[in-house]
């Protein structure tokens, strides 16, 4: 009995070392957290200006609100509008996305400092020091709290011009959503043995929250559906920031954070370091894998499946929005102009389709970079070395992964086209063509990743920066009136804006040749260089 009593956690020593671990966590995340927060804050704080440009007069804004009330598919995507002020429209336009971004930041931070540490075995070393049993989890949650607090401060200060209390309400809402998912990640991190699964499951919960809110908002135009109230993302819109704030909604964030936090600590106290409540299932005693290419597919198939589902669903969603969007934009000169800059000067429907397809193309650049950099991950983790000590040439090994990266780009764009066919139902051929015409530009980004990896392996992750810059140019460039020569830096800027515009084979051929040249140069570099360890 006494043994049990002494085993129960008690006393302040449970938290010994939390301060040190928190400083250590913030130091390790000194790049990651600021970048995520900066991107999020930029997205929020640039919105009032964008909206002023698009809907400058009160009449235009009133128009927009009226259309939202009748357009269920757009409400599902973005949420309901509660007022015609610029502040309320900002909260409407970016609220769900900024909250989701804060949630992703928080879940990454928490999993990184809890399950990741345990899985890698580093936690053992840390826990052997003067570190309390609850210190690691506390430090991880505090690190997420610091990130969310900074975000709330930036948003509150940046939007104060639109109304101080609305800005405070909105900032606190974003931070609240972040903390709900920080504590959710803390629970999931106790359940799974791998950090990757913990991240995936928490992200799935976030996805479910988005779907619940979308379903609720398509059913009602004031966020009053039960489904919306079940989703923390729905709480953000139901705070009605800049539209007669409902402060009590903040209590929901606080309560959810507290309850989930208590649950996470309770679970953490009932398990051993490194163990989990959902243990890994055993695998087969014998394997069928026999080639490097089969291994590459085995390692990447999960990712390819995820991207495939995502692109197909995105195609259906955007396809379903197409008719409504064209109506919406038709009455607004500046919105029409932006779509035409992104999507071409033909019919408005075609312009909308072209800009959505173009956006998916930009996102596919992230896929190709992630897939190519698997090579780098295999090499830097030390797994490539014994593999290449077998009768596997480097080029053959790389070819397996590159086939998935470059072939997969074609495949997911094709699936997006099929999704459009399901969601929109017309122009199936031209839209499929528009999706596939993105591929050469995606390949150029993939080619840059291959070149970086082959020639400068230690700088290979810079390929993310390239993809991010291209994404930024293509996404916000047209809205910010960035001059054409700058837009032309991105390979996507040279593609014909299909459907609607004339097909131009010239740029497509040139981009393909550039991509092939980049890959060839990268592989030549890989063949000649030392493998790093």
């Amino acid at each position: 009995m006494t043994a049990l009593a002494t085993a129960a956690p008690r006393g302040s020593r449970q938290l010994a070392g939390t301060g040190t671990l928190l400083r250590f966590a913030l130091r390790r995340d000194r790049v990651m957290i600021p970048v995520w927060i900066a991107v999020n804050a930029l997205m929020v704080l640039s919105m009032p200006n964008t909206l002023k440009g698009l809907y400058g007069t009160a009449a235009e804004r009133a128009d927009l609100v009226r259309q939202m009330e009748t357009n269920a598919s757009f409400r599902a995507l973005i949420g309901p509008v509660f007022d015609t002020s610029i502040g309320a429209l900002t909260a409407w336009r970016v609220g769900v996305f900024a909250a989701a971004l804060a949630a992703v930041t928080s879940l990454l931070v928490v999993v990184r400092h809890t399950r990741d540490e345990e899985e890698s075995g580093r936690q053992e070393l840390v826990a052997s020091g003067m570190v309390g049993r609850r210190a690691s989890l506390t430090a991880a949650l505090l690190a997420a709290a610091v990130a969310n607090t900074v975000l709330a401060l930036l948003v509150t200060a940046g939007l104060a011009g639109q109304g101080g209390s609305g800005a405070l309400s909105f900032g606190l809402g974003l931070a609240g959503a972040g903390m709900v998912f920080a504590t959710m990640a803390a629970i999931v991190a106790q359940l799974t043995e791998s950090a990757r699964l913990a991240r995936g499951l928490t992200a799935a919960v976030l996805g479910a929250a988005f779907v619940l809110r979308a379903a609720g908002d398509s059913a009602t135009d004031d966020g009053s559906s039960v489904l919306t109230w079940l989703s923390p993302l729905g709480w953000v819109e139901n705070q009605r920031s800049f539209a007669g704030e409902r402060w009590w909604v903040l209590l929901l964030f606080a309560a959810a954070t507290a309850v989930q936090g208590v649950l996470a600590y309770a679970l953490a106290g009932r398990r051993d370091v490194g163990m989990s409540f959902l243990p890994t299932r055993p695998g087969p005693a014998a394997g069928r894998l026999g080639t490097a290419a089969a291994l590459a597919w085995r390692l990447q198939r999960g990712g390819v499946l995820g991207w495939s589902i995502g692109f197909f669903v995105a195609g259906i969603v955007y396809g379903g929005l197409t008719d409504g969007a064209a109506d919406l934009v038709r009455d607004n000169d500046s919105a029409r102009e932006i779509f035409q800059r992104m999507g071409g000067r033909s019919g408005l429907t075609d312009a909308f389709l072209a800009s959505m397809v173009g956006m998916l193309g930009l996102i596919a650049a992230l896929y190709v970079v992630a897939s190519v950099l698997r090579l780098y991950g295999e090499e830097s983790s030390g797994r490539a070395e014994p593999l290449l000590a077998n009768a596997v040439g480097r080029l053959r090994w790389a070819a397996g992964h590159l086939a998935i990266a470059f072939g997969g780009s074609v495949w997911i764009m094709f699936l997006a086209g099929l999704g459009f066919a399901v969601g929109y139902g017309r122009q199936i051929g031209p839209i499929l063509g528009a999706c596939l015409v993105q591929v050469p530009a995606i390949w150029v980004i993939g080619g840059i990743a291959v070149l970086l990896y082959g020639v400068l392996p230690r700088g290979a992750t810079a390929a993310w920066g390239v993809a991010g810059a291209v994404l930024l140019l293509g996404w916000v460039g047209p809205a910010l009136n960035v001059p054409q020569p700058v837009l032309d830096i991105s390979p996507f800027g040279h593609l014909p804006k299909l459907p609607g515009a004339e097909m131009a084979w010239g740029p497509v051929a040139v981009l393909t040749v550039i991509a092939v040249a980049l890959v060839t140069a990268g592989l030549a570099g890989l063949r000649r260089r030392d493998m790093t360890t």
Partner: protein, 300 residues
């Protein structure tokens, strides 16, 4: 028949660090060759050159009669490699990795695979991330010993193995030799090398400082002699090759260069020998002698 491995005058620099500085290495077919050196001496760098993972700056290397850089794939068909720190794919089971490696080499002997899994007490159904260090090491060892290859390159392969598994490992290496295979065993566990190796090469700071059979090497070093004499010893101090002479009454302890042992024994017997023990140098002493100045530097 060509040698299994020939390396001469190998140089490799990483920036300002000269990892290999004119290294030589010869491994005969069918022998177990010990490759000794402290951390950072260049053992792993040499092995990576032999595997074609690094390209040497200068010097010549041949593995199984071929160039390890330009003929990497052909060479690797006949090689099995075990690194000192095995990393596995988190979601592949140990059994899947063993079979993959076997197929990527010359093939896998299924009977031997089953037997080795038994002997190493390995659970092949566990996923990569759930293995302990020692068990990850066993996965690579089973894959290597069960593969149909001519040359095994083992880079500190027993780190993380317990003494029982170390014993199993040593028996496996002996079996490999009996089957006519060549083993290059990089290690700093000297008892392991002493037990298993026909010949050893000792390297230091990227250079080979000693190479030959253990008997050859011992010949070059000192034997410890302890003797109880009938009368007082004399003349020992002036003999060539005698070191660390310690006389306490009729009890004598000394170190002598092994090729000068004869003269010392003659001198001792002049005083009448009551008892005598003579110990050949252990590999450890041999090894330490080459690194003595480094040790001195550390202790200073």
């Amino acid at each position: 028949m060509t040698k299994a491995i020939t390396v001469s005058g190998l140089h490799k620099a990483f920036g300002a660090t000269h990892a290999l500085d004119g290294l030589d290495l010869d491994v005969e077919r069918g022998e177990v060759h010990g490759f000794l050196g402290p951390n950072g001496a260049g053992k792993s760098t040499t092995i990576r050159v032999l595997l074609g993972l690094l390209r040497a700056d200068s010097g010549a290397a041949q593995v199984l009669g071929r160039d390890p850089w330009s003929d990497a794939v052909e060479v690797h068909r006949r090689i099995a490699y075990v690194p000192g720190d095995v990393t596995l794919w988190r979601n592949l089971s140990g059994g899947e990795v063993i079979d993959l490696y076997g197929r990527l080499r010359g093939g896998l002997d299924q009977r031997r695979r089953a037997e080795l899994i038994e002997r190493f007490e390995l659970d092949p159904t566990k996923k990569g991330r759930t293995y302990s260090k020692g068990n990850r090491q066993k996965v690579a060892l089973v894959a290597a010993f069960a593969s149909d290859v001519d040359l095994l390159i083992l880079d500190e392969p027993t780190s993380g193995l317990d003494p029982l598994m170390e014993e199993v490992f040593q028996r496996c290496v002996t079996e490999e030799r009996d089957r006519g295979r060549t083993v290059l065993l990089s290690s700093h566990i000297l008892s392991e090398v002493e037990e298993l190796c026909d010949r050893v090469s000792i390297i230091r700071k990227g250079r080979t400082v000693e190479s030959g059979s253990l008997a050859d090497l011992r010949h070059l070093t000192r034997t410890s002699v302890t003797a109880e004499l009938a009368g007082p010893p004399n003349g020992l101090a002036h003999l060539p090759g005698v070191h660390d002479l310690d006389v306490q009454g009729r009890r004598v302890r000394l170190q002598v260069d092994t090729d000068k042992l004869d003269a010392v024994l003659r001198q001792l017997s002049e005083s009448g020998v009551r008892s005598l023990t003579s110990t050949p140098p252990t590999l450890e002493e041999l090894f330490l002698r080459h690194y003595q100045d480094e040790l001195d530097e550390v202790s200073r």
